[in-house]
């Protein structure tokens, strides 16, 4: 039995889809403290001291990058008056599937584990929350979801990926068998165990695991897609740009500023990546209540987006409003789009918008520097007559998949990790091997090294099949002549 009966589980509890709102649910003994680690409240609310059955507004933040992932409402419900009779936290996200997945990822990194199929309901039943008559239904649910999940996992475990992970697991098994053989057979005439080689093997496997794990981002992009927000002052041609990308006329386009009062969402496929693109209301100070609401939603859409397309009007020089917008976008992944470049843009003053770059290159993407010192791609297009739209698509893709991401570990093939469980297992294994490495370097007792190696083996076993003690012993007996 791998899983503890009361450990904290997490899952997206709303059906997959592109609806604006989704719920990430945590249940278990550390649900509140794990949620607390991802939650930042503008009013300084601390979840661990929050009352039971209370709701709090705030943001999901990535503790490492301090990036805001989504604006959320968090419900804290303490045992026993909850669905599972354990502590439960529900995080209501607004930004669609990408922030939902990220929130789950952050919960995993903070110590939760992904729920098994039907596990919330199973806990509800086992903890006496659901009565007997529902037991059959729970079993059916587990069976159905497991069948589905297993089929899905099989589909996701690409044959070559499986081969690769098997190879990595075997490498760890080999290390494990070496160390265990030295522990259990101290008087047998075994070949010398060279600590430096052991340490080097650990690090080699860690590098491979990390390379594979880094491909999750890319795999996720292809599988789940990404979200882009088109932002800009009113009337810079955001809706026209959306239409140009869509090659259709979905958004209402007029010359009157503020026509787009809500966030318009469209789905398109950019070079194989499913992209959910949001056309936002023009961001400016406004007294129109409907428009204020639109602006508020725009800002939220930006929070949840993987990339913001910051649109500037190339037919006019940028002004203070443009500069404010660029400042607002500071820290986001950004692609600067200079629209209305059909008339040519000989003297467009980038500096007015608070960015710098040599000068606008009419035909191809170019680099600019933002006020905060970070670099971004920029491109001049004409949404109206369709100039450079294909180049813009390439640009969007390369922004979503920076070279360093694609290069890592992919020199030999194109393996992608698309399943979050797989990524989590790879990361856990890499972490455990890191500890094994440290214990070898620190000349700790071998039994401590063995402990970490076993942990790594168990993690990889979650992907390609559990490794048992008997497997380790088999390996020892096939590798070494044991038998004093």
């Amino acid at each position: 039995m791998k899983h503890l009966p009361d450990d904290t589980i997490v899952a997206i509890s709303t059906p997959p889809g592109e609806g604006g709102i989704g719920i990430v649910r945590l249940s278990g003994r550390d649900a509140v403290s794990i949620a607390g680690r991802l939650f930042d409240s503008p009013r300084g609310v601390r979840l661990h001291s929050a009352k039971s059955h209370s709701i709090h507004h705030g943001f999901v933040i990535d503790g490492n990058s301090h990036q805001r992932i989504d604006e959320v409402l968090v419900s804290v419900m303490r045992a026993p008056r909850t669905y599972t009779r354990e502590d439960v936290v529900e995080i209501n996200c607004h930004g669609g599937s990408v922030p939902l997945m990220r929130t789950v990822n952050l919960a995993l990194a903070a110590g939760a584990r992904l729920a098994e199929p039907g596990e919330f309901t199973r806990r509800a039943f086992l903890n006496g929350r659901i009565d007997l008559s529902q037991a059959e239904a729970v079993m059916d649910l587990i069976r159905a979801k497991t069948d589905h999940a297993e089929r899905l996992a099989l589909q996701q475990l690409d044959g070559r990926l499986s081969v690769r992970i098997h190879a990595l697991r075997d490498a760890v098994l080999d290390l494990c068998a070496h160390v265990e053989a030295y522990i259990d057979f101290p008087e047998d005439d075994l070949p010398d165990l060279v600590q430096t080689e052991l340490a080097m093997s650990c690090m080699r496997i860690v590098r491979e695991l990390n390379a594979l794990s880094s491909r999750y981002h890319e795999g996720r992009l292809y599988r789940e897609g990404a979200a882009a927000a088109i932002v800009g002052k009113p009337n810079v041609g955001k809706s026209s740009l959306l239409n140009a990308l869509l090659d259709s006329d979905r958004a209402i386009v007029t010359d009157m500023p503020g026509t787009t009062r809500d966030v318009i969402e469209e789905h398109l496929n950019i070079r194989g990546i499913p992209l959910r693109i949001m056309d936002t209301a023009g961001i400016r100070e406004s007294h129109d209540l409907a428009e204020q609401e639109g602006v508020r939603r725009s800002l939220r859409a930006i929070e949840g987006a993987d990339i913001a397309l910051a649109v500037l009007d190339g037919s006019r020089q940028p002004d203070t409003a443009d500069r404010e917008l660029m400042e607002r976008l500071s820290g986001r992944k950004l692609l600067v789009v200079i629209n209305k470049a059909d008339a040519g843009i000989p003297h467009f003053m980038l500096g007015n918008a608070g960015i710098s770059g040599s000068s606008v290159q009419p035909g191809s993407p170019f680099q600019v520097l933002l006020a905060d010192g970070s670099a971004a791609q920029a491109i001049a297009v004409s949404a109206k007559i369709g100039t450079n739209i294909e180049e813009l698509k390439d640009c969007i893709k390369s922004c979503l998949l920076p070279e360093e991401n694609r290069a890592a570990g992919s020199s030999r093939d194109d393996l992608l990790i698309t399943n979050i469980r797989h990524k989590h297992a790879l990361d856990t294994a890499a972490g455990a091997l890191d500890r094994a490495h440290a214990s070898i370097r620190g000349a700790e007792a071998q039994e401590i090294t063995a402990l970490s190696l076993r942990e790594a083996l168990d993690a990889l076993g979650e992907i390609v099949g559990i490794v048992t003690t008997d497997d380790i012993l088999d390996h020892i007996f096939s590798q070494f002549c044991i038998g004093k």
């Binding site: 086992l126 059959e136 079993m139 008087e187 047998d188 039994e447 401590i448 402990l451 380790i472 038998g483």
Partner: protein, 627 residues
């Protein structure tokens, strides 16, 4: 049929399992009779004259902590003691002793004979009497009936034992002893499945013919550390072992004779242990190795027999002589006893419960090699548990079942009854998932309360333990509270030990947590107000240094224990469950796990199957509560 007498408990076989079972049963207050085919080979060390070693040494300590005998007899008959693995971490330190074979037998027989309520008889048991799923007694080859409320079968390699030396084979229980033929059939008649295993032993060589000057001696520790918590000091003279190696010539002789090997000629059908291969197996399977190590182990103080550990074989006698004489130091060796392989019946252990009681027949217990294990220690541990549980059964009490995080004995029995085995099962430390908890040094802390509760551990041993425990607790409290100031003398010592000086004063525990700092430094600079014996010092140090790891394993074990508390009702119908594959149902029906935790450890039972089982068991449990 002549009926001589009724007993409470009958034990069949006086090997290591049988002796522990008989002692435990009688010490717990039951009239017990121990049957053996040959009284002179009671507690025979039939393979190597050594007790303990990795994981096995842990088992011996655990037997001692519960009130068993093996550790004490080993201490009395030991002629070399070595603590193995000192550099690899305290959880895998392990004690191993060479024992004087005849002293071991004699001391054990004496203890058996002096034990009140224990009857000892030389007789061959032919049949087990059982009716309506309950055992009633046994019948011997003389046709004598003995009644009993519980019977413990500890027959070792004797069931249809078949010895092989080259192409010769003959029925035998061990070299020079009769096998038990009909008991095997009796078990089959009672409905048990039987399997076949194989093991082997090397030749014994006359010391007069060994050229010791050419060999490297290996001495034991001085002073030797005893196995038993009750032993004060080892008093026997201590002897070395000697190390030599096979060579290319030896390997050529073996390769040239494989056509006369019963193993390679297909005459042996039983499965042998991979961790203890015959020399012909080593040479064939590891052809690239140019030599194999041999330990020459003394068999006793009064005998000149040496046990050639490492060249177990079933090759013909003439080949045995040639291969032994090709080895350095053994050029003139004379064989006193030939090597042999032996095949025997065993009862695949998924047919018994954690209590070691047969699932099919109440009151019938199996322990030792008959359950597919190998090794004196594994046998002794099972014998002890079978004796305890037969006694508890007669008292009408719940059996004593040790968890995997409590004892190697728990790991051993849980593995056997959950996974079965198709090769002789030996204990390894890598089989224990809570290795840091199951240490050699803390067997008393893990098990003595239990041994005392069931009334098996002697009052003296328990009092000594209570004293040790309170000393430990006092010393830990002191280390957690008493502060030490940095001073020139201390910082100088710290520098010598390769660690940094103390920046400010701190509690002693913090200082002891440093890997380079040993308890001796604490003794030097902040001595305890009372004398702290060496074993308590070592325990304190391990507890302090490994605190983080130990806490993590304890927490994990405690949380997983919830699955062990989820009982699956007896006779639960696994076939009626929706969503379980036929394969999983078959496994579950075969093993009949008693808890959800155990079900999850059965190979092939998936986490989803465990989920379904959890719900079904909970459902049945709730239904039974309301009805």
């Amino acid at each position: 049929m002549f009926k001589e007498q009724d007993f409470d408990i009958i034990v069949i076989g006086a090997g290591h399992a049988g002796c522990e079972a008989a002692l435990a049963a009688s010490r717990m207050g039951f009239e017990t009779c121990l049957f053996t085919i040959n009284l002179d080979t009671t507690a025979q060390l039939s393979c190597n004259p050594a007790i303990g070693g990795l994981a096995k040494g842990h088992l011996v300590r655990e037997i001692d902590a519960l009130g068993g005998e093996m550790a004490k007899i080993t201490d009395r008959s030991g002629i070399q003691f070595r603590m193995l693995n000192l550099s690899k971490g305290p959880a895998v330190w392990s004690l191993r002793a060479q024992a004087d074979r005849s002293l071991y037998r004699a001391f054990m027989k004496q203890v058996l004979e002096e034990q009140p309520r224990l009857h000892i008889k030389q007789a061959m048991v032919e049949r087990i009497e059982a009716k309506d799923g309950r055992v009633h007694g046994i019948v011997t080859s003389l046709g004598v009936l003995y009644g009993a409320r519980a019977v413990i079968v500890t027959t070792g390699t004797f069931l249809k034992g078949l010895m092989h030396i080259g192409m010769e084979s003959f029925p035998a229980g061990r070299a020079g002893e009769f096998p038990s033929i009909t008991l095997s059939d009796s078990l089959r008649d009672l409905g048990f499945q039987l399997g076949r295993l194989k093991t082997g032993t090397p030749p014994r060589i006359d010391a007069k013919s060994i050229d010791f000057d050419l060999l490297a001696p290996q001495y034991g520790d001085d002073p030797p550390v005893p196995f038993s918590y009750s032993t004060g000091r080892i008093t026997n003279p201590q002897l070395p072992c000697y190390i030599t190696y096979t060579n290319q010539k030896t390997h050529d002789i073996i390769r040239g004779s494989l056509d006369r090997s019963p193993l390679y000629g297909g005459r042996i059908s039983g499965v042998g242990p991979r961790y203890c291969p015959s020399i012909e197996d080593k040479v064939v399977r590891f052809a690239e190795k140019d030599r194999h190590q041999i330990f020459l182990e003394p068999e006793g103080l009064q005998t000149s027999e040496y046990y050639a550990n490492g060249i177990s074989t079933s090759l013909p006698y003439d080949v045995q002589i040639a291969l032994v004489r090709s080895i350095e130091g053994l050029e003139h060796a004379e064989l006193m006893r030939p090597a042999y392989a032996i095949e025997y019946d065993y009862v695949p252990p998924t047919q018994i419960r954690h209590s070691l009681e047969a699932k099919a027949i109440a009151g019938l217990y199996f322990a030792g090699q008959i359950n597919g294990t190998s090794g004196y220690e594994e046998a002794g541990a099972q014998g002890l548990m079978a004796g305890i549980n037969a006694a508890l059964h007669l008292r009408g009490k719940e059996p004593l079942i040790l968890r995997r995080d409590e004892a190697y004995i728990g790991v051993l029995i849980d593995d056997l009854v959950t996974k079965g085995t198709n090769e002789p099962y030996r204990m390894f430390t890598s089989r224990a998932e809570y290795r840091l908890l199951l240490r050699h040094d803390n067997a008393d802390f893990r098990l003595m309360d239990k041994g005392h509760d069931i009334g098996l551990l002697s009052g003296e041993a328990f009092e000594a333990f209570c004293l040790r425990r309170s000393r430990l607790e006092r010393e830990r409290t002191r280390l957690a509270n008493e502060r030490i100031k940095p001073g020139d003398a201390l910082n100088k010592r710290l520098a010598e030990l390769g660690t940094t000086p103390m920046p400010e004063d701190c509690v002693l525990e913090k200082l002891l947590k440093r890997p380079q700092v040993g308890y001796d430094l604490i003794m030097e600079f902040a001595p305890a107000p009372e004398e702290i014996p060496g074993d308590v010092q070592s325990l304190v140090e391990i507890q302090v240094k490994y605190d983080g790891y130990i806490k993590r394993q304890v927490e994990l074990a405690d949380r997983l224990a919830r699955y062990e508390e989820k009982r699956i009702p007896d006779g639960f119908d696994f076939s009626g469950l929706p969503g379980l594959s036929r394969e999983v149902v078959q496994k579950l029906r075969e093993v009949q796990p008693r808890t959800i935790g155990q079900a999850g450890r059965i190979p092939g039972v998936t986490p989803a199957a465990v989920s379904i089982l959890l719900i079904a068991a909970e459902k049945q449990w709730r239904q039974s509560k309301t009805s």
